[in-house]
């Protein structure tokens, strides 16, 4: 219980400032990245018309998310953004499920991870909007329905980043805290596996999907 909220940090002095690295999320993120790379290698190693089990799994991911993207964006943009959406979901899913393994936690229970993914989605959606509509029409979008709504629209855009990243962070960290506290209260008897199943596997999968869908919708809102 005492180590609740404790973070191992590496502080590097740099030109009078201090750079702080949260070591655990970095290591965990690298584990996820390596896991995904290995999965990608195994899925495409022996490509065949009759796919093996790993290739099938890869195809399921790609098909599902291409279809989902095609429902929201037009054909050209789907080709461009569907890989991003698929990769984002697979990354988040593995991140959220990593806490099931002993000695590992979810990188997404660190606000820095979710906030950087949120900012990434924000930048990509606005880039897509500018590319599609042109700068003038894009800027005009902020003055709708009337010009004095400008500050509100700006706050609304920033609020999107906050809401998307805090939603994932709050859910995953909340699940962590609940599992730790309840495990402590019941002396690790009976309940912990069920709680882990519910909060890590189930909520983790749903929140990964919600985050991916919202990123996709933010892109679609900017483009249309």
């Amino acid at each position: 219980m005492e180590d609740l909220g404790e973070i191992h940090q590496l502080i590097v002095p740099l030109f009078g400032h201090e750079m702080t690295f949260n070591l655990e999320p970095i290591i965990q993120t690298w584990i996820v990245i390596i896991g995904l790379l290995v999965f990608g290698y195994l899925a495409t190693r022996k490509k065949s018309l009759v796919p093996g089990p790993i290739q099938t799994l890869g195809e399921v991911f790609i098909n599902q998310f291409y279809e989902l993207t095609a429902d929201t964006l037009d054909k050209e943009l789907t080709r461009k953004y569907a890989p991003l959406i698929t990769a984002l979901f697979m990354f988040l899913l593995l991140c959220n499920w990593l806490g099931v393994l002993p000695y590992l936690g979810e990188p997404t229970s660190d606000l820095n991870t979710t906030l950087s993914l949120g900012i990434m989605g924000f930048v990509i959606s606005h880039y897509a909007g500018i590319r599609k509509k042109g700068l003038k029409k894009y800027l005009k979008g902020y003055c709708e329905p009337l010009f004095f709504m400008l500050p509100l629209n700006l706050v609304g855009e920033l609020a999107k980043v906050i809401s998307i990243s805090f939603r994932l962070f709050g859910n995953i960290m909340g699940g962590d805290i609940i599992v730790i506290v309840v495990t402590y209260l019941v002396f690790s008897l009976v309940l912990p596996p069920f709680l882990t199943g519910f909060f890590f596997i189930f909520i983790g999968a749903i929140q990964a999907f919600v985050f991916t869908m919202l990123t996709l919708v933010y892109i679609a809102v900017q483009v249309n």
Binding site: A159, G174, G175, V221
Partner: protein
């Protein structure tokens, strides 16, 4: 009778525990009652399915109860933890933890009753969809619980963090404010998310081919509905972790508490409103699938407009914290 600090802390722990479980019991009971009433209607319509409907009702009620169980956990912690030997701030910490969890459980409890009830009605209407309806109900109810999980996180952080190093004068108000922000902020979003999940179960039963579309749009609508609860969580985090300079003036303290109350109450309306918007969108997407892109867009725009009052509250709360 003399009052020293340990007595005050004990008073706060008992009051806080009572508030947590008292408020926490409201929502789940209403939600579960709604589920049971819908299950009764469903069984009378289609008595052959009574076994499945009964199972669906029990599963749905179990999920709806989880918010009340969170409140029970917090109440038990408050009643049986030994808080003695702490500072004055602890009194506020304990009260705020109870309030946050108690209020936060109201919305999610009522909300998750709706999808469970509608899933029972759906099983009687469309028995072939019973498994998919149960899955959809579980997903919808689980997302409904998110606001109460946020409230639980805030009350656990309050209980397990050490605030003794902070100056007493404005910190007590900031802590109470954080409790109000997280607690009240969760009510609207929990209820609204339930409305969305309700019609997704209804739509799925009416039009089985629309199942995957309806689930996706439901998740989207619920996620947007939760935005104001997330503002509440954000304001609570800021109030807890910013660290305020000591000041004896009551004005500074009240500004911090006001920020929490403002964000908390301001989040209730948008949460319910956005839920109502998404509810209709999901209901009609199930009946008219060709119009999905159009309806989704209108839903998002409508939700954004109804959320603007929540953003006003957020702006006012941030002004109260950082400017005054």
């Amino acid at each position: 009778m003399t009052f020293d600090i340990d007595i005050w802390i004990q008073v706060a722990a008992f009051t806080g525990g009572g508030l947590a479980m008292g408020f926490g019991a409201i929502g789940a009971a209403i939600g579960e009652g709604f589920t049971a009433s819908e299950a009764n209607i469903a069984i009378s319509r289609n008595p052959q399915m009574s076994g499945d409907i009964f199972k669906g009702m029990l599963v749905g009620q179990a999920i709806a109860e989880s918010a009340a169980i969170f409140a029970l956990v917090v109440a038990m912690l408050l009643l049986f933890t030994n808080f003695s030997g702490q500072s004055v701030v602890a009194v506020c910490v304990i009260l705020a933890a109870g309030l946050s969890m108690g209020l936060g459980a109201v919305g999610s409890g009522i909300g998750s009753g709706f999808p469970a009830g509608e899933a029972c009605a759906g099983i009687s209407r469309q028995p072939a969809m019973s498994n998919q309806l149960t899955t959809n109900m579980l997903i919808g109810s689980a997302v409904c619980q998110t606001p109460s999980i946020f409230a639980l996180v805030i009350s656990f952080i309050l209980l397990f963090s050490d605030f003794s190093g902070m100056p007493v004068a404005p910190t007590w108000a900031a802590i109470l404010g954080a409790g109000f922000a997280a607690g009240f902020g969760a009510i609207g979003s929990g209820l609204g998310g339930g409305l969305v999940a309700q019609t997704s179960c209804e739509g799925m039963a009416r039009q089985p081919t629309s199942a995957s579309t309806v689930t996706n749009i439901m998740l989207l609508g619920q996620a947007v509905t939760q935005t104001t609860a997330i503002y509440g969580l954000l304001v609570a985090f800021i109030l807890l972790f910013k660290g305020f300079a000591p000041s004896e003036s009551l004005g500074a303290a009240m500004a911090l508490m006001g920020a929490g109350v403002c964000m908390g109450l301001g989040a209730i309306g948008p949460g319910i409103g956005e839920g109502a918007t998404a509810r209709s969108a999901v209901r009609w997407i199930a009946r008219n699938q060709e119009a999905t892109p159009e309806l989704t867009r209108i839903m998002l725009v409508g939700q954004a407009v109804s959320e603007s009052t929540g953003i006003y509250s957020l702006v006012v709360a941030l002004v109260l914290i950082f400017v005054i």
